[in-house]
Symmetry: C2
Subunit: 306 residues, 2 copies
């Protein structure tokens, strides 16, 4: 028996048929048109699902959407502007009515976490934390091998804990959120700031993105080194907080920043070890990258129903 | 069928027979002698349990111990000095051998959390967080109506998340732990500091404890007001972090600081509401005191086996 997994991204929607082993049997990608009414977009999605049903035995649909949802009502509450037209639509009910299948909704970070928990290198761990380090910082929690939800599925907003209550103002309104220090956005902003003091940096007058900054760090550029050292410190402190709260078996990193590979992972592991995984003498916490890459959104969404 | 609940405190051990409804049928209290070898203390405990077995039908023993434990080995790793002699003893195995009963160990904060989850005012909530505000700050997590454990049962050290990575040094070695701001110890230290600037305070030259400070606050003493206002801010920020991570149904406060009653609860609730329970638009989080008082240690320990 197979499941349809839907990964709603910022610009496109990926839809796949996934089998019990997490293998994708068929997939298609459709563009998001921000001006299209949400109900029309959902009926386009339903058509694709229904066409899959002709070829594959499908028992349900899992759908992952970025933003803050209200799972008790099957709705998107906040998300990027491209999904504005989806707000206040009961996605679960709408898709159920149009496909006559069981539909389960969750947010993208939770879905990526489920993909790792079911089909990743560290599958079947009792306690697993995933941090997505991209434009923002998100996360998901596996506890007793199940996805942690919280009220209305609104738990695990792991980017918005404050690690410095007197610190930077975050987009969410609080001060010192992990996202304000450990997102790719924060890394770029920090680099912009420091470049004023380092006119000879390789990064001067470059259009900045994460990759360019890590490349300069690899070449031992001083400005990049200072920014990355601070980045490791901030992210490391956030990770120590999650070691202390959850004492997980493993913490996995994903998102654009994870492309830095060992340039990030090695010093981050050292920082966490040097600080005794949060509390001296307690069980060590494995720190690694998520193992599933581009299709983790489809596979994770499918895992909601598998 | 009944259960024996054992609450190991700093100076005494309370042992009770508890029925399925969480009612204590019989209880005794024995002093802790820090010089007594751990094995001797445990065999005294076992004698009491075995004497209960003569009168009551007992199916198991739950035991709550302060400190950091290794539940995979049934041992205390770190705790207050009074329990030094218990370290490196497999408490579970020792008591099982001496009583021929099923024995379950956990730490005191987890046990207090279980008591609330099973028998408190907010019993049966899906997601519940308990914070103990005493000499230190501890905590427990209920997720999907079960106690969250983490690796070796070492999760939920909720007092040691950093809310200010550049902030105060905590006893644990980190900077800015919630415990360094929101424990009774921190409240007393903060008061001592501020009194240097307020020679006319009601608190000047008093031997300080939590109660005296809250009493001065009630009488509108300026120094106490400043300290308490900061205390609400620190604790409020810690609570916002836990709202964001868990989006729990309820966060309960217990420990000595909870005796401040509405002097604490009212402004704290206002602070959390003013900050949108962490993230604007998400489900509100109830904030209240734990409802079980002095016997929650016995009842919670019993809940480990009930």
């Amino acid at each position: 028996m197979n499941v349809v997994g839907i990964d709603v991204g910022g610009t496109s929607i990926k839809i796949g048929v996934v089998n019990q082993k997490g293998r994708i049997l068929k997939k298609v990608s459709v563009a998001i048109n921000p001006k299209e009414p949400g109900l029309t977009a959902l009926s386009r999605l339903a058509k694709t699902i229904n066409s899959f049903k002709k070829t594959y035995h499908v028992k349900g649909v899992g759908i992952g959407v970025p933003g803050i949802l209200d799972l008790s009502r099957g709705e998107v509450l906040f998300s990027s502007t491209t999904l504005n037209s989806w707000h206040s639509i009961n996605i679960v009910k709408t898709l159920t009515n149009l496909t006559h299948l069981k539909v389960v909704l969750n947010n993208d970070a939770n879905v990526a976490t489920l993909a790792e928990a079911h089909f990743g290198k560290y599958k079947n761990k009792e306690t697993l934390i995933l941090l997505t380090l991209g434009t923002g910082v998100g996360g998901g929690i596996i506890s007793r091998r199940k996805l942690f939800m919280g009220n209305k599925g609104q738990g695990a907003e792991l980017g918005h804990i404050s690690i410095d209550i007197h610190g930077r103002r975050c987009g969410c309104g609080r001060h010192g959120c992990l996202e304000a220090y450990a997102s790719a956005t924060a890394l770029i902003n920090d680099t912009k700031k420091i470049l004023k003091k380092y006119p000879n940096s390789l990064l001067k007058n470059k259009k900045l993105n994460g990759k360019i900054i890590w490349d300069a760090y690899r070449k031992k550029d001083l400005a990049a080194s200072i920014v990355i050292r601070n980045y490791i410190y901030y992210l490391g402190e956030g990770i120590l907080n999650y070691c202390i709260i959850f004492r997980p078996d493993v913490i996995l990193l994903t998102g654009g920043i994870a492309n830095a590979g060992n340039l990030l992972l090695k010093p981050l592991r050292e920082y966490v070890k040097k600080n005794h995984d949060g509390i001296s003498g307690t069980a060590p916490v494995l720190l690694d990258f998520a193992s599933l890459k581009y299709d983790s959104g489809i596979i994770g969404a499918a895992s909601l129903v598998l």
